[in-house]
Each structure stands twice: as C-alpha cells, then as structure tokens.
Amino acid sequence: MAAPFPPPPGPRFVLRGTQSPVNTLHFCPASQALGNPLLFSGSQSGLVHIWSLQTRRTVAALNGHKGQGVTWLKTLPQGHQLLSQGRDLRLCLWDLAEGRNTIMDTVQLDSVGFCKSSVLARGQLCWMLAVPGKGSDETNSSPRPLLLAGYEDGSVTLWDILERKVCSRIACHEEPVMGLDFDSQKAKGVSGSAGKVLAVWSLDGQQSLQVYKTHELTNPGIAEVTIRPDHKILATAGWDHRIRVFHWRTMKPLAVLAFHSASVYCVAFATDGLLAAGSKDQRISIWSLYPCS
C-alpha cells in the first residue's frame, strides 16, 4: 500500500528570524508588489515582517501593536495598504507605498478572542470590513453581501449583512471553529475546529448551509484552513505540527508535511501556488506542491 507512493517532499525554503511564534501569513499578490513577491507575517511579539521571496530576507518589520500578538493580515486591493489586527484590540491600516511604514488609521476592537477579521472588496476604493465582536470567526460572499462566521460552539453561520439577520446556521463541529474558507465557484466551504473533524459544507440556492462531508483527522486541532486560489487543493495548519494537503473536490488526503517541531498556526497560498506555513517554532516554511497548471 505504502510502496507506490513517493515520500513527501521537504520545504522549498525556510524563513527564520521572527524570534517569536508566527501567528498569521499573507502573500502580497505579485501585481501589487510590482514584480517583487512579498510575504507578510505577523508574530506573537507584535511585529509584522515583510519578506522578499526573491532574497528570502526581511524587507521591513512593522511595529504597531505594542508587543501584543498580530492575529490577521491582509493587503487591500489597491495595493500598498495593509490591514493588521492585533491582540492589543486595534486594527491598523498601514501605508506601505514608496517605502513608507506608517499607520494611517486604526479601529478599536472589543474582542480578545481568536477571531480574525474579513474584507470584502467592492471596487477600487470601496471595501467592507467585518470585524469580530463578542462572537467568533470570519468570511465573505456574493451580489448581496453575505458573511460566514464560525463560532466557538462549533457552528458556522451565514449572515445577510444588509438585513442583519441569520440566513442559515449549521452545527458541524463539537469544538470551537478555528478557521474556515469558502469556494464561491463551487459554493462549498470547509471549516476546521479544535476537534478531530474537518467539515465540508455547501451553500444551496436558498442560501442554506448543509454539511456535505466530514473528514476525520489523525490528531485533533486545526488552526487554519485555506483553499488554494485555483480551487484545486486545500491545506490545513495542524496543532499536531503537520500541514495536511487535500484534494479540494474529493477531500482525498494528498500529503502530510511534517517539518515543524511545534503547532502550525497558519497556512497561506500565493496566487502562483506557493504554500507558506507559520508555526509556533518561529519558522515559516515555504512549499511548492502540485504546481498550478
């Protein structure tokens, strides 16, 4: 059974030097970065590092969260602007244009949970930001803005933002939902929790959620789930130190990448298929698996 399968590959390269566990990662799309692909990482010590993927060195480190951990990072569509969310209960908007590293704006938050924010871009200069309140987790949607949120009671809820009401709610986990991602092409999403189960659910025309499939993992604890931009594969960040890669359509396990020596906190995909994972062991590993066609 095991014989015909090749051993899993090692990481393409490893970024070291955050000096602190890596909480979140975000690839800056190449178009925005002017041909110099960048990776943002947010660490527990409150720093945001900007890595050049060409030189594999830090370009800059942003210190704006007063030593409290950075939990979420996202560049805005118009480029040169970065949103960062920290445990200091602030959400900062950074201006990175022309080498500047200044905070342009901040939003005060009232949640101290794990929940990450989410951004819905509606045009070049118009975007909508969802920030966590007392509830829990994130994300995005369709013509009418809909928001998917994962809660600590293990449920995933679909909100209609304009009418401010719950469209649908499913309890698909027994443990708190830690991360979810949604594929709007296939109208399917996946969520991971502190438990052993990875749940795939689908959204039908009546905007109601249904559990489509579940997948049992060897070890409990998924910190983040990310679907690759081409909707072919997805990766999970496991508390068991491993990154798992699945085939998105069939949920067939494809690889178990055991490189980190502590919990993996985040996984992110670049548009060209590069996979980055940040871990409690203060390292960021970059992988190149199943290249995008």
Partner: protein, 837 residues
C-alpha cells in the same frame, strides 16, 4: 499304436533329416510344405495327427529350423520363399512353444551374430502380431496335462522377464520394442485382449481361468513395473467395467487370483492408478472383505506403514472403503485406528512430520466419508483419542505439528458436535492448512456416492470454511466502497498522493526526556498515555545517553523484563524487546550478568525466559557487528528500530542530504583525479574492535551452568523442552557471534560438552539446536585450536553426526547434520593442505 500317429512321427523324422542334410531348395520347400499342412487351419481342428504334431513334434521341428538358420541357407531360395515359410512356422504355430523355443534360442546364441539378430527381429514380429495375447489366451483354457504347472511357470518367467533376457543377450543392439518402458505397456494391451477373449468365451458358455494372467500381472508388479502395465490396463478396464457385470466379475477374479506375495504390489498399483473410488470399487469388488492379505494391505500397510502416497490416492483408497455397505465397518475401524495412532504421544515424538501429515489427512478424508449416525456411535472413542492427540501436539515445539493438531481437532469437534459452539484455534493459514481443510469437505462425487446423509453431511462441514471469508468481506465493504466511488469520480490524475504512513497520533507532550523519568513512568505511572510514550522513546533515550543508562541499567532491565502489557499497544512486544536490547548493548557486562542469572530464576514464565534468550542473542549481534549501531541510531528519532538503521537515516531529510552531498563531491574528486596505482580503487572497510569480545563470557557461560538442575517451576530436561530448544539455538548463535574472539575456544569446548550431554534428546527442536551449535563451534573456533584442544570431542561428535545424518526421523535434523559433517570435512582438508608442504 494308432497308424496315423506313427505316420506323423515318420514324416517328422524324415523332415528333420531332410532339413539337416539337404541343400536342394525344392526338396526343403516341399518338406516344409508337408509339415505346414499339420499346422494349417483349413482342416478339421480335432484331427488327431495335428494334435500329435503340435504337442509332441512341433518344438523339435522349430529347434531344427533354428539350428539351420544362416545367411547361406536362407539364400538357397532367392525369392525369399524359404524365409517366409520359415517365419510362418513360428508365427502360425502354437504360440507357447514358438515363444519358448525363440527365447531359448536367443539366450543360447552367443554374441552379435546374424542368427541372433534374425531371431530378435522374428520375436519383434511375434510381439507385434499379438501372439503373446494368443499365448496367454491358450493358458486360460482348461488344461489337463500333468507337466502343465511347471511349463506354465517357465512360460511365466519368460514372458515377464523378456526385457531383461533380451537386454542381456543383445546388449548394445537391443531393439526398442524390448525395452521395459515399451514392452510392459504392450503387455498391458495384450492382457486387455486376453480378457476380452475370456469374456467372449464366458458369454459362449465356455469355462475359463484367468489365473495365468493374474500371475503375469502379479509378477510384473513385483518387478516394479506396475506403472507401465497398469497405466494401460486400468483406463481400459475403467471403461469396460462401466456397464458390464460380467466384466466386473472378470476383473474381481483377476485380482483375487493374484498370488499372495504379489497382492501388495498389485493393490498399490491399482489404488495409485484408479482415478476415483468408484472405479476402484468396480475393479476390486469386495476383495478387502474376502482376502485377509488384501485387507491387511489396504487398511494397514498403505495407511500406517507407508506415507509416500499422494492425497488423491488416499482419497480413492478411503473412498473405496466407504462406497459399499459391507466395507463401511472397515472404514470405521480404520478411522479408530488412525486416531489412536494420531493420539499416541510416542508416535507424535518419533514419527517424521510427513507421516503425521499423512495420517492427519487420512483422518480428515475418513471423516468426510462418514455420516452423522456412524460418528455418533463411536463419539466417545474419537473424543478420547482426539484429546490425547491434541494435547501432545500442542506440547510440541514444532509449529507445523501444533498446527496439524489444531486443524484435525477443529474438524473432528465440528463433526462430533455439529450444533455446539465450534472449536476454533488461531493459526496461520498456509498451503497445507488450506489443503487439509479442503480434504475435510467431501467433494461432489464423494457426497453422491456415500449412502447415508450425503446432503446433511456436506452442509455441516462446509459451514466452517465458508464462514470466515464472508465475515472478512463484510467488514471490508463499508471501508472500501466510499473510497472506491471517490476515486472513480476523481479524474485529476496529476494529484498523486505522497506517502502518508508517517501520519501517526501525536503524544509529544507526554514524552519523558530522561532515562530516570522513563523508569519512573514505567514503574509507577498511572497515566497510560505517559506509560506508552515512555516505552516508545526508551530505546532512543538509551542510545542517546549511555552514561545515564549505565547508572540504572540493571534496574531498567529488571523493570523491562517484568513489564506487562497494560494497554492494547500495537507493538508492545517489539518495543520492550528493543529497549531491553538497547540496555544490554549499552551496559553489556552488568545486564548480561543479571539476565543470565534470571534465566534460571524461580518465578518467571516460560515467555520471559525465552525473551531473555532472544534479547541476549540480539544484543550480542549488535555488539559483534563491525559498525556499531549505537552511533547510527543516535541521529534517529526516538523509538525507531535498531535493526532498520539505514532506513532510519533516510527518513530524516536533513540527515539524508549530507551523505548525498558527500557522495557527489567524492565522485567529482574521483573523476578529476589520476591514480597511478594498479587496479581499481577499493572501498575501505572501516574496521573496529569487536565489542562482543570482552563480554562474550558473561552472555554465554552462566546459561550453561544450571540446565541440568530442575527447579520447582522450571525443568529444562523435563516438560520445558521448548525452552531447552531455544537455549540450544541461543547458545549456537552466541557461539557463532563470538567468532574471532579470544574466549571462543573455551566456549566451544563447553558447548560441545553441553551438546554431548543432550545428544539423544527426543525433541526434534532441541536436536536441531544442538546440531546448529556443533556447526557454529566448527565455524567460530580457529582450526588449529579446534584440533589441538578438542580432538576427542570432535571425533565423538563426528560419529554422532554421521549417525544422525543417516537415521534421524526429521529431515531438517538430517540436513543440519550433513552440513556439520561437511564443515568437518573442510576442516580436515584445510589441515591436510597446511601440513603437506
């Protein structure tokens, strides 16, 4: 005197005179023509002149004709008329006399000569014209002459001995037709012809006796040509007896008339050649009931005294007993006796494995043929023998013997108590066990022909074998199907999964980091996860911190030795063993001392004692290996095996990269470097001291000290012979691993003494161990020391080995003894080559 008869005599005398003296062709031809008249078939067969001629004068004429045979004489008539006439006398006259004269003449003619070849050719024609059938047919008619038995005896020996006699006379020039592989099938065909004639006679109301044919058959079979003759005979008889009662009766008569001393040979041949029990039954009738000798052969000799026969043969033999109601009591009797033998502990110990297998098969075939009521009658006896047999088989140290016991017991119990809960042993399925279980299921032919309860019997027995596959299929279905349907939909071939075997459950938080923590976790911890984690990492920890291990080595060994499986751990036995080996390797002296004394300790189970032996061997192996495993496994993750060190290095990508890189660099240097030395560069083997050298004694000698002193709980020379066998094997391994050490000589001496004390042990496994011990002594002790210090022991061992190689019942023992003898021979050759120059 009858004038007609005296006229015949006169004619014959004249003819003989003419033949011997005349050179005139016309005269000779006319004389022969006159004589031929007496043979001719046109006249009335009852003619007295003809009778007189054929019985009294024919041989004389033939002898005279033979004596005249020469190229010149035959050429007297150039058109070949004379030759033709000459031959016709032999081919048309009474076949028995012609045959005897021919054989006599061939045997008395010396060397390669025209006459000899001529007569050999004539005999060939004689055979091909079916004259032998005519000859035998003649003997089947009622005879009255007083000298007849003697004559028949001569004829018999010549007919059967023809290939030998012709081979002797003709030497190199023998004709292919006379070779035994051609002659006996021909003879078989002739026998069929004779029997056909006999059946015709009987249908015509004539009296006939087949006793001559039976004697021919018996004699051929005794000479060991039963395959050739019966290979032709049996298939034809199978067809002929199918619908005809008369044919069946002729066959029964044929077998009944076989002389007593040939019965065994003929019956064995028939049982071998008969394809099915029904055929055998048609050929033999109720012979086993009527004939004591046949009964002995069929029910005892073929079953108990021989074991070389094939399974189909067993099936047709026992099937034959089962087919007829008169013979069924014999089958039950046979089953009882078989089981008695099967349950006899002395038989289990002394009979070779093949025979035990044969008897077990016979039992299963019997059971398949017997019906429910018949088995109920003898239930108690069956049960008693079965219990005895199972007990002594399960005691055996050889796995195949144990398995035989389990299989037979399962089948018997399922037949005796079809309703009760089935007896089920755990044994590995192999070819033999499958074959045996298949035997216990009666085939379609057997089921139809058995008279009582065919269907019920079949249903009962098939239940057990069918059940198991169904279960496994059921349990597989749910797990396989979803995956299968998925992969069918999956058209994305580009995503080939990577190996995910390393995806195990993580227990990192509980892993102890130090030896003492491990020790504490294993002894006192109530937390099972921690306990398991400790056992998992222990081996790695021991190798990484030898200093710390040495401080607590004996204590650790003690804990591991007494460790019991508290949870259902996947590889508990291996983990414990590997950890013990690691401890022993790290601190060999202390731990080996401890383990060897515990081997003869009071309160240990056999399992623990055998574990001790295994650990000692594995540790010795690790120590004696040129490249120490210790250094290799230091890089490895904790808990992985010592014995898979190379695989382990490659599992870590970081480590694997370094050697690759070094290899590449070395290759480049090599390609750029010119060497002026001769020959290709040789790879240097890294040498290192044999670490087993200094501690071999601690491993070895204490094990030898107490084997003959029984304890209350442990008696090596008594019931615990399995451990004794393991001990012998262990000592052999230790001896072998101690090659090139200084202590090898005293070790060898002590081991040979040990072997000498136990050399006549009844248990096969023990003997195997002893024989391999001798071999390893011969391999490990240097030649000159062997001859200098141990010459007497070697001489004694040699005679013992020769004896075992010749007489031991076990095949493996014989082979091991042969190997040891070969080693001894090599030793002698080496010595001779040293001393001669």
């Amino acid at each position: 005197m009858d004038p007609a008869l005296s006229a015949v005599r006169l004619t014959v005398q004249e003819a003989i005179h003419t033949l011997s003296s005349s050179e005139d062709v016309g005269h000779i031809l006319s004389t022969l023509g006159t004589l031929k008249r007496y043979l001719g078939g046109t006249e009335d067969p009852a003619l007295p002149e003809k009778e007189e001629f054929t019985t009294i004068h024919f041989s004389a004429i033939l002898r005279c004709l033979v004596s005249k045979l020469s190229p010149g004489w035959l050429e007297l008539s150039p058109d070949g008329q004379l030759e033709q006439l000459w031959e016709s006398f032999f081919l048309d006259g009474p076949p028995d006399q012609a045959f005897l004269v021919l054989m006599e003449a061939i045997e008395s003619t010396a060397g390669p000569s025209f006459r000899l070849m001529k007569m050999a050719r004539l005999l060939e024609i004689f055979l091909s014209k079916g004259r032998v059938a005519a000859l035998m047919e003649e003997q089947c008619r009622p005879q009255t002459k007083p000298s007849f038995p003697l004559f028949q005896e001569t004829l018999l020996s010549k007919v059967v001995g023809l290939p030998d006699r012709l081979g002797n006379s003709l030497q190199q020039d023998n004709l292919t037709q006379f070779l035994p592989q051609n002659y006996f099938p021909l003879l078989g065909q002739e026998v069929v012809e004779v029997l056909k004639a006999v059946v015709n006679f009987l249908q015509g109301g004539l009296d006939c006796s087949v006793s001559f044919v039976s004697r021919v058959l018996g004699k051929v079979c005794i000479q060991g040509r039963k395959k050739e003759i019966l290979g032709v005979l049996v298939p034809q008889l199978t067809v002929l007896t199918q619908d005809s009662c008369l044919w069946q009766r002729v066959c029964w008569r044929l077998v009944e008339q076989v002389p007593d001393r040939a019965v065994e040979a003929v019956l064995t041949g028939l049982v071998e050649a008969a394809p099915r029990p029904e055929v055998l039954s048609r050929l033999l009738g109720n012979l086993v009931v009527k004939n004591k000798k046949a009964q002995f052969v069929m029910t005892r000799k073929l079953l108990f005294l021989q074991y070389q026969h094939t399974t189909p043969m067993l099936q047709s033999l026992l099937g034959y007993l089962a087919v007829d109601s008169q013979r069924r009591p014999l089958l039950i009797q046979v089953l009882k006796e078989l089981l008695e033998t099967w349950g006899n502990s002395s038989a289990v110990r002394h009979a070779p494995l093949e025979q035990q297998c044969y008897i077990s098969k016979a039992i299963l075939v019997c059971l398949a043929h017997l019906g429910e009521p018949e088995l109920q009658d003898i239930q108690d006896e069956l049960l008693a023998s079965m219990m005895a047999g199972v007990k002594c088989r399960l005691d055996s140290s050889l796995p195949p013997v144990r398995r035989l016991g389990m299989i037979v017991a399962e089948v018997i119990s399922s037949r005796i108590h079809p309703e009760g809960p089935p007896l089920k042993f755990q044994y590995e399925d192999d070819e033999m066990s499958r074959e045996m279980l298949a035997l216990a299921t009666p085939g379609p032919a057997g089921a139809c022909s058995s008279e009582t309860g065919g269907p019920s019997l079949a249903s009962v027995v098939t239940e057990t074998p069918v059940e198991t596959p169904e279960k496994t299929v059921d349990s597989d279905v749910p797990s396989v199907q979803p995956q299968g349907s998925d992969s069918e939909l999956d058209s994305d071939d580009e995503f080939i999964p990577y190996d995910m075997s390393g995806d195990k459950e993580l227990k990192s938080s509980k892993e102890p980091r130090y030896i003492r923590d491990c020790l504490e976790a294993l002894t006192t911890s109530e937390d099972m996860e921690r306990w398991e984690a400790a056992l998992n990492v222990l081996e790695g920890l021991v190798y990484r911190s030898p200093e710390a291990t040495r401080e607590v080595s004996v204590e650790l060994a003690k804990v591991l030795l007494h460790l019991e499986e508290k949870t259902c751990m996947a590889e508990f036995e291996q983990l414990r063993q590997r950890a013990l080996v690691a401890v022993t390797v790290t601190d060999p002296e202390q731990v080996a001392k401890y383990l060897t004394t515990q081997f003869y300790g009071l309160n240990y189970s056999l399992r623990q004692r055998m574990d001790i032996l295994d650990v000692l061997v594995l540790a010795a192996q690790a120590l004696s290996r040129p490249r120490s495993l210790q250094r290799l496994s230091q890089h490895g993750p904790p808990g992985s095996g010592t014995l898979c060190a190379p695989a382990l290095a490659s599992s870590q990508p970081g480590n694997a990269a370094t050697p690759d890189w070094q290899v590449v660099v070395e290759e480049r240097i090599k390609s750029k470097t010119r060497r002026f030395s001769k020959g290709c560069p040789r790879r240097e083997l890294t040498g290192g001291p044999n670490e087993f050298n200094s501690v071999a004694g601690y491993f070895f000698f204490p094990l030898l000290q107490h084997f003959d002193r029984p304890l209350v709980t442990f008696d090596l020379l008594g019931d615990d012979q399995l451990v004794l066998g393991r001990l012998a094997h262990t000592l052999a391994s230790l001896m072998y691993l101690a090659v090139n050490t200084t202590v090898a000589v005293p070790m060898g001496k002590a081991l040979l003494e040990f072997v000498w004390a136990l050399r006549f042990h009844v248990d096969t496994y023990v003997r195997r161990g002893l024989l391999s011990a001798v071999s390893s002594v011969l391999l490990s002790v240097p030649t000159e020391r062997l001859l200098g210090d141990l010459p007497d022991e070697l001489l004694e061992a040699r005679s013992w080995l020769a004896d075992v190689a010749e007489k031991d019942v076990d095949e493996d023992c014989r082979e091991l003894a042969m190997r040891a003898l070969l080693l001894l021979e090599r030793l002698r050759d080496k010595l001779l080559s040293i001393s001669s120059p």
